[in-house]
Amino acid sequence: MDTLMNVSHVSYAYHTLSGETMALSDITFSVGEGEFLAIVGPSGCGKSTLLSLLSGLMEPEQGTIEIRQDTEEGKTQIGYMLQKDHLFEWRTVYRNVILGLEIQNRMTPENLSHVDQLLEEYGLSRFKNARPSELSGGMRQRAALIRTLALDPRLLLLDEPFSALDYQTRLNVCDDVYQIIRKEKKTAVLVTHDLSEAISMADRVLILSSRPATVCKTVEIRFAAEELTPMQRRQAPEFKDYFNEIWKELNHYA
């Protein structure tokens, strides 16, 4: 597996007049092409900070983050899915989904037909001209994912993308999103504080300590049966072993 992203010795601190708060300290890891990596840690440990750094919205104070360059110039490397869908009510679903293309001035026929295909495939083409408020919570999250995928990013960053949903919707959307990501063959980094979510989706789980966050352990997730959906993984026998292992690690370092 080729490495898509390399994070080495990254540190970051927030500054206020009353002092300095270390958020991340000496974080090193890499993400392989096509891999699904989950990052878990106690809440407030700096997970979101890490994602902002990975996405390039903020610069690390120390260390480097490298992403393997695509041959195509000017193409977005990284797609970022926020906690809430933030679909704009003053735009139709379709115009929300093409927002990224509009912003980057890439509304070419190929890109637009890619969007149409995504909408068709993931059951939203009937709602193209609807307002976001007419969609269910799960459909909104799918629309938000298509908005990110429309830019055809190589790496997807997911910042607790299901935390705003109720439990039942959450399990369903988790399955949906997982399958879309696998089908589109995307590399993904999921940040969450929900251990079951991490284990049910990821190939590898990175455990962060409490603030300042450091990487305290990496756990490879392997299930005997292959190609399980997150829901099926939750019922697999290995699930609770991984859960206990990661739970212990988290409590040990928290």
């Binding site: 919205l57 977005t76 926020l82 809430k84 933030h86 704009f88 003053w90 990224g100 980057q104 307002r131």
Partner: protein
């Protein structure tokens, strides 16, 4: 259409009856007030020379309508109000955008804006007349001076209270600061801007009337001052009534605009 249940029909009927009753009482209160006023003037409980009476006011309005003086005064006040309102909105929109772009600039200017906004603006009018002369330009600027500082502050506040996460979304999609403004800040500020419009149309009218009190030969403000000085109270009250009607119509126009915008955004 499904059959409406008895209880539902009863509820709707009661709701309607209440609504009609309120409308009727509003009308009766107004009619009663007019009747009382007319009767007390006719029976000389009050001095009709000072207090006028509905019939006299109506007669004055008809007279002034006949020789078009009323239309001229009303038209001029309306024109000045609308022009100063348009300029206030334009200036505050540009200023708020500029302040949003430069947080340092807004930090520097904030106390001065607050001071200018808390100043009683009618105090500025005499100064404006000395500086700019007694003409229509002065009156339009007086109208603006009442509204513009508050309008800049509220519009800038509306821009600044845009959801940080929505702004972040635009950046994650590779957007620039300009695109943040166009795709999130402006559209999400529309409801706030509409309520700013509602407040400012009234303030501009206030400013224009103050200006006309001091520096005009035409307009409703001039008519009010003139008729109070020559004790033509019929004229004064007629002017006040027209002013009420103008204020009401302007507010209604903005409410229509709001309704239209809401409909177009929400299908």
């Amino acid at each position: 259409m499904p059959d409406v249940s008895l209880r539902q029909a009863e509820y709707v009927r009661r709701h309607r009856r209440h609504h009609h009753l309120v409308t009727l009482c509003r009308f009766l209160a107004f009619a009663g007030f007019l009747a009382f006023w007319e009767v007390s003037a006719n029976l000389e409980w009050i001095d009709a020379f000072i207090f006028s009476s509905p019939s006299r006011v109506l007669q004055t309005i008809l007279e002034m309508g006949g020789d078009h003086t009323l239309f001229r005064h009303t038209g001029i006040t309306l024109y000045e109000t609308l022009l100063s309102f348009a300029l206030v909105i334009l200036v505050s929109f540009l200023a708020a955008t500029l302040l949003w772009f430069s947080s340092s600039l807004s930090e520097i200017l904030e106390p001065w804006l607050v001071i200018l906004n808390s100043l009683p603006k009618s105090a500025l009018a005499p100064l404006l007349i000395v500086w700019l002369g007694a003409n229509m330009r002065t009156i339009i600027i007086a109208g603006m001076s009442v509204a513009v500082f508050g309008s800049i502050i509220s519009m800038y506040t509306a821009f600044r209270t845009t959801d940080e996460e929505e702004i972040k979304l635009i950046y994650t999609l590779g957007g620039t600061r300009m695109q943040v403004l166009r795709c999130v800040v402006f559209p999400s500020s529309v409801p706030a801007v509409i309520s700013i419009l509602k407040v400012n149309i009234g303030l501009c009218l206030v400013g224009v009337i103050i200006g006309e009190f001091l520096a005009a030969r035409e307009g409703l403000g001039y008519l009010i001052i003139y008729s109070s000085q020559v004790f033509k109270l019929n004229y004064l009250i007629a002017a006040l009534i027209i002013l009420c009607l103008i204020a009401f119509c302007l507010y209604q126009a903005i409410q229509k605009l709001e309704h239209h915008i809401r409909k177009s955004r929400k299908l």
